[in-house]
Symmetry: C2
Subunit: 321 residues, 2 copies
């Protein structure tokens, strides 16, 4: 949750003069998104989300994110759509930060996704990959295989504070992944952070996918691996193969996996588990003062990694081969 | 800002079955209120605020707060109005906490109130006092003169960590206030926390007064003293007598102050300054882990107290005598 920057009523009124949204009717800082400050903004024309981009988001990537949302929305995907300024731009400045207004999506995220929800998620992910296939923009994954050792190095000496033996576990896993990472898989735009709190449901249908600020070009099947870890484990930590099978099955019905992709899932899932374990570990040691953020427990993802290390065959994760 | 308790989609759906509000369309935790968890709740019938009452609010006082809001709304005051359950009650339970739904008020709070805003605030406060005059409920002020020494005692030994000499300043002020606190002033329901972030404006008019969870029976003029401190000092710390005069003038045009009330304002303002300085100091030393709260700087209110200690006559604060 996050509101890092306060917005004054005077600054907001001045900012809105760049838009055709009428005057402000309400503004509430919301507990959504970890990297940016987000507000529900109500104006004379409707309800929107106002985002102020904080330092952790590279400003150079903002046009990529915003034009990706435009592209996906134009293809009928339920994602936030950037609202144009009178100047036709989508990116302004407010309270000293880059800022944008996007449409508000109805829906509530699922705290405990069901097997059917995992199927819906799989289909939505395939739709996202297909809708983005002809998107011209490009952004490298700043949190890929090459980045993980660099994330780990500055905190390696403290990792065992969180759990004895953690530093050795991470070093060994990094070596395994460097040696075994799959090459030449189909690439494209991935969401890269499609956790349950970024998927909105209305009744039994997915009404929206949000928070594209990790989107990048990478292996499409790596996005599935991220979702496998985020959606298909039970709260107690057990993997649920029915959820995996539902997700992979629904995805593959729209975008079939190649044999190489299917085979690579266990390794990709180990990488995805390590990636979130590492960034959570970094956050754990680096909660900025006054950030109003509860760092997520990194051990959840180390436990998932430990389970994934026991998997010999993608079918054990629900992949249909 | 605060969201202490997460609400699952399943628990929320079950909770809404007690209401005639239709199904949920969106739920966003918001950065509003320090004591409770607040959400903007959108349903098929409209937009509301959902509040989960956390431990710091005495559960026994919740019926008082909710019936006060009913009373004020019935008299035309723009305040949140509790939404009735099918059972006619206004107080339910959600995620293990007492919980209520109230109407959503449009408007944006003023970060830097103008002189005219201070006049509007004065009039709104008088309207609140008058509208509450025939309210039957009663609640003692848990943070009154008698409570301040008890707030201070457990943190007295640490006060000088915040500023050298602070403990002695507080002790001397407590003695002064015990000896000089005005008696027999007109009493009634006071808001007791009417800071700028609890007053919503649409354009140049006040569109709503919110957050009644400190409301109680006390000296009506003490409510004015709280507002004087919260509204009539500039960001740099200087007192603005024009703002004081605007506030007192607009208030008195609806509810004239007695001579005793007018004369008491400087002492009441010292008490009000000490009350907020003390609770901020307590919070400063007691930020609960994971509370997602930025404690407010207690020194702001000690600086106001210091200025108020130099005031010999209520007219120096803008009171018309």
């Amino acid at each position: 949750m996050a509101v890092y920057t306060e917005v004054s009523d005077a600054d907001l009124a001045a900012f809105l003069e760049h838009y055709n949204l009428g005057r402000v009717r309400a503004l509430k800082g919301i507990a959504e998104g970890v990297e940016n400050s987000n507000f529900v903004l109500s104006t004379e024309t409707g309800v929107y989300i106002l985002t102020l981009y904080e330092k952790r988001v590279e400003e150079g990537s903002l046009p990529f994110f915003l034009s990706l949302l435009d592209h996906l929305a134009a293809r009928g995907l339920n994602c936030p759509q950037p609202v144009r300024m009178r100047s036709d731009g989508a990116l302004g400045r407010l309270a000293g930060r880059p800022a944008a207004i996007v449409t508000f999506l109805e829906g509530v995220c699922r705290n405990r996704p069901s097997i059917a929800d995992c199927a819906r998620l799989g289909a939505a992910l395939a739709q996202l990959h297909l809708a983005a296939a002809d998107f011209k923009g490009s952004r490298a994954n700043a949190l890929n295989l090459e980045a993980w050792p660099k994330l780990f190095a500055p905190i390696a000496f403290r990792a065992d504070e969180v759990k004895a033996g953690l530093a050795a576990t991470i070093s060994a896993e990094l070596k395994f992944l460097q040696a075994n990472w799959p090459r030449d898989l189909p690439r494209g735009i991935i969401h890269a952070d499609l956790f349950p709190d970024n998927v909105l449901f209305l009744g039994d249908e997915i009404s929206g996918v949000i928070d594209f600020y990790f989107a990048c070009v990478d292996d499409l099947s790596y996005d599935l691996a991220i979702c496998l870890n985020a959606w298909c484990f039970e709260p107690g930590g057990a993997f649920n193969i029915d959820k995996g099978a539902a997700m992979f099955g629904a995805y593959a019905s729209l975008r079939p996996l190649s044999a190489a992709e299917a085979k690579a899932i266990p390794t990709l899932a180990r990488g995805a588990a390590l990636r979130f374990a590492l960034t959570r570990l970094v956050d754990w040691f680096n909660v900025p003062p006054g950030a109003l953020v509860n760092p997520k427990n990194p051990l959840e993802y180390f436990a998932k990694l430990q389970m994934l290390q026991t998997i010999g065959d993608a079918r054990e994760l629900g992949v249909l081969i």
